[in-house]
Symmetry: C2
Subunit: 514 residues, 2 copies
């Protein structure tokens, strides 16, 4: 028995059932130990960004921490961007990164790198195991950290000799420490603030997809306050029958208008809103300087308890039909293809309880009004703004929810970052339909350039923003990864392709020339 074996036994004894993996040569003993325990399911991703994004999507939909298996330093670097998105989503992820045997690190082996530095730049918790006998205990603590504070990024660095040296026994991850709670005085002050006309309760976390949303709605209705959510969140529920929560906007200008008249903004499970970027002449934050900001309950605190305590002060109003989105399915639109119509068709055809992974970036703005008229569904958004999130997150969501249809709204620019996830969808037979919104470029950059006042573009900009000459052929890319794809250019084609994708089980790709 060696350190690697104690690690796998610790993971299993602590309830970890899944490992998204892209192993390298420094993790061989860990790999061998995993092989002795097929009850810990290993899912291969052909690039580490697929690994970390899948672990993120899996946590968002299951609430469970998955392990990742990553190669030392540069392998972790490849996972970095989607760990950033996971961190911003408050997802719990347990990274196991291999490293050289500790005595080998004083030599200049090719793969020697700053494992600790790159890990710490995105992890809440990082540790290098220093003895084989400590692997189990360190793994248990890493897992506890990943499950703490509503979800964190924990990275355990495992030098190869810690994996291969003799060790015995396993550990069980302790329960995470209790979440912090606001004081009674803070609750009372927030409840009073919410009773002012126009006050806003801004919520995030499980409030947006669990029964806590009903509670938040009842208490804000009783207080006469508005109930809102940020634009980018880990997961929110939407569509017919879902309790109404106002969604903030992407653009700072729109959020300035949304928040203008609020006497108080009470934060519960979310930090102070900030602009996606700063722009010359615009403020960094959309709240009115006259608005009283009340930072009641941070993302890391006990959000459910806080809402219960608030409700005890405000009371709870009964909810009526006006508090829920009605069933208002769009008609299937025909004719020439527009993004708005594609959104309506998705809304019309998507089954109850789908999971929508939204990385449509600029296109999602146009799709949204149609999609949200669909049957009740969950939406995962790109919380950290780092593109390449959508396809990997869909892998994780589909693994977490094998009985639900996953629909990815994917930009062509964004999709290219982590297209290797298509293969994992095929390998695992995941029920994911990928809609590629092929506008042949980085539309968001065209928009942002206009936002900073540039009206005319020359060669360098068009060469950097336009993905043409050649255009990408997403049907071929899908085929290359073992996924069936189809390209559509009118609504009849889209409706037929999307309906067929909804009617079958397994991965499909629809390229929308838009």
């Amino acid at each position: 028995m060696n350190g690697a074996e104690t690690l796998v036994q610790t993971l299993l004894a602590s309830g970890v059932r899944l490992c998204f993996a892209n192993p390298g040569t420094s993790e061989m003993h860990f790999v061998a130990a995993l092989d002795r325990h097929p009850d810990l399911r290993c899912i291969l991703c052909l690039f580490e960004g697929g690994v970390s994004g899948a672990a993120d999507g899996y946590f968002r939909m299951s609430g469970e921490v998955a392990a990742t298996l990553l190669h030392l330093a540069p392998g972790f670097g490849n996972a970095f961007a989607n760990l950033h998105n996971a961190r911003k989503a408050q997802s719990g992820v347990l990274n196991i990164m291999g490293d050289h045997a500790d005595y080998h690190l004083r030599f200049e082996a090719p793969l020697k790198g700053d494992t600790v530095g790159v890990a710490q730049a995105v992890s809440h918790w990082t540790r290098v195991t220093s003895e084989a006998g400590r692997v189990a205990g360190d793994a248990a603590q890493a897992l506890q950290a990943a499950r703490s504070k509503n979800g964190q990024i924990a990275t355990l660095i495992l030098p190869a000799n810690m994996a291969w040296d003799a060790a015995v026994g396993h550990a069980v991850a302790p329960a995470p420490p209790a979440l912090r709670r606001p004081t009674a005085k803070e609750i009372s002050a927030a409840a009073r603030a919410l009773r002012q006309p126009g006050a806003i309760l801004l919520v995030d976390g499980p409030v947006l997809w669990s029964d806590l949303g009903l509670l938040a709605k009842r208490l804000t209705k009783a207080a006469g306050a508005r109930l809102m959510q940020p634009y980018f969140v880990s997961r929110f529920r939407r569509g017919a029958g879902v309790v109404r929560i106002e969604r903030m906007a992407y653009r700072i200008e729109d959020n300035l208008a949304l928040l203008r008249d609020a006497p108080a903004l009470v934060l519960c499970g979310t930090p102070r809103p900030a602009g996606f970027f700063a722009y010359p002449g615009l403020p960094s934050t959309p709240d009115n300087p006259e608005t009283r900001l009340i930072d009641l309950c941070s993302r890391e605190m006990d959000i459910g308890w806080t809402l219960q305590a608030l409700a005890a002060e405000t009371g709870e109003a009964d909810l009526g039909p006006e508090d829920f989105a009605p069933l208002d399915l769009p008609a299937l639109p025909g004719g020439t293809l527009t993004l708005a119509k594609v959104g309506e068709a998705i809304g019309a055809l998507m089954p109850e309880n789908a999971v929508v992974v939204d990385e449509g970036v600029s296109s999602s703005y146009h799709l949204g009004p149609g999609v949200l008229r669909g049957r009740g569904h969950d939406v995962l958004t790109i919380t950290g703004g780092s593109i390449g999130f959508g396809l990997p997150a869909a892998v994780g969501a589909a693994v977490a929810c094998p009985d639900r249809k996953v629909v990815v709204l994917e930009g062509d620019g964004s999709g290219m970052y982590t297209l290797q996830s298509l293969w994992t969808m095929a390998r695992e037979g995941l029920d994911v339909t990928v809609v590629i919104l092929a506008n042949r470029g980085y539309q968001i950059l065209r928009d942002e350039l206009a936002a900073v006042g540039v009206r005319e573009v020359g060669r360098n900009i068009s060469r950097m923003f336009d993905v043409v000459e050649p255009t990408l052929d997403w049907v071929a890319l899908a085929k290359g990864h073992g996924v069936t794809g189809v390209r559509v250019s009118d609504m009849a084609g889209f409706n037929a392709a999307f309906a067929e994708a909804m009617a079958q089980h397994g991965p499909r790709l629809v390229e929308v020339a838009c």
Copy 2:
């Protein structure tokens, strides 16, 4: 005029002509400034790993530092792995990473991340510009750093308001400081050591592809010493007519045998050799404990001067035909396909002065003996061991050498990490032939697993090591990126496809089922 404009003018005034780019929204003013200066050529890569790998390949073949344009924190994370390879290759790269406006960083915007942390984990030089008026000076110093010590990774972090705030003037990068040199005593000691029978001079850097190789050969011949090079190097010259330099091996066991009888090992431009990984029961370093190690000239020092000084002590012997590889072109093999035959066919068909980017990993071991019998060519290897190097480096090499044929020997597992580079090859019309060695998995991992004593594999290992169910279709993947591809399964097919690729100009892909 703003900070971004002074940056572009500084780059141009300092001789930078090329920017590999994957811009994001925090770099809009830099992008706008680049657009005003089309003489700074911007080349788009659809993923940041393509950007950094291309800058590496470009430096290796041109000796010139290119700029990269990277998005803040996670965008740099995507570039990390190939910056690691570049660092290990001693390549000079100037990264320009955007960031939020500095005053925006106190808020929790989605893309806020540890830009400094992730940059420092792989850069030799990192700085955050703190005033628009300092952009030009900081950029000049960053460029100087990238050009110093034979090539370094320099990262300039540019908060958005440094780019958009008013600034005037530009700067010119100072010449890098003089390289350090060994003392006369050290030279004499090394020269004496080399005169011992069986002593070895281990060289790297430009010795492996420039006329310094002739000098090293003449001086070691005069001293009666062996001349060797590491296995993984930035660039080396090989094939017919090239001066003979023994190449070390990949496996530590083979290197132990190679170095066993050396009384002295003199290092010039390279650190002490170390095993790619440590293995239980094997030493970390292949040099015999009886061998005297002489660390004469590190990678960062003046390698050319050191060889001249050594030669002044040892004398220089005349070189004869036996000191050069003969023209020994393989015959074109027919019949069933083997990797050894594919290597021979490449050796037979590859034109004079090709650039071979070798990321064939386990397959390259079998290809090598055939390829090295080809006409004189340069080889770029994966110095940092982080796969996903080959296709991006080929982009950079082809941009640096538009008149030379670039051939990539690429594993299917490795190629998948950064396949987006195929698109840049098509976009820029680069003369690159990609040979995909499709063994349907991570063969190196199968080999390494056997090396640690595992003989039987179960479900988890086969699911992590074998890229099957489905197999990848590289011809479709190439088509998706706008590159013509063909799949071959016998030697007649390979010979025809490779010969056709050699005869035309522009990107081609040949998938070899092996």
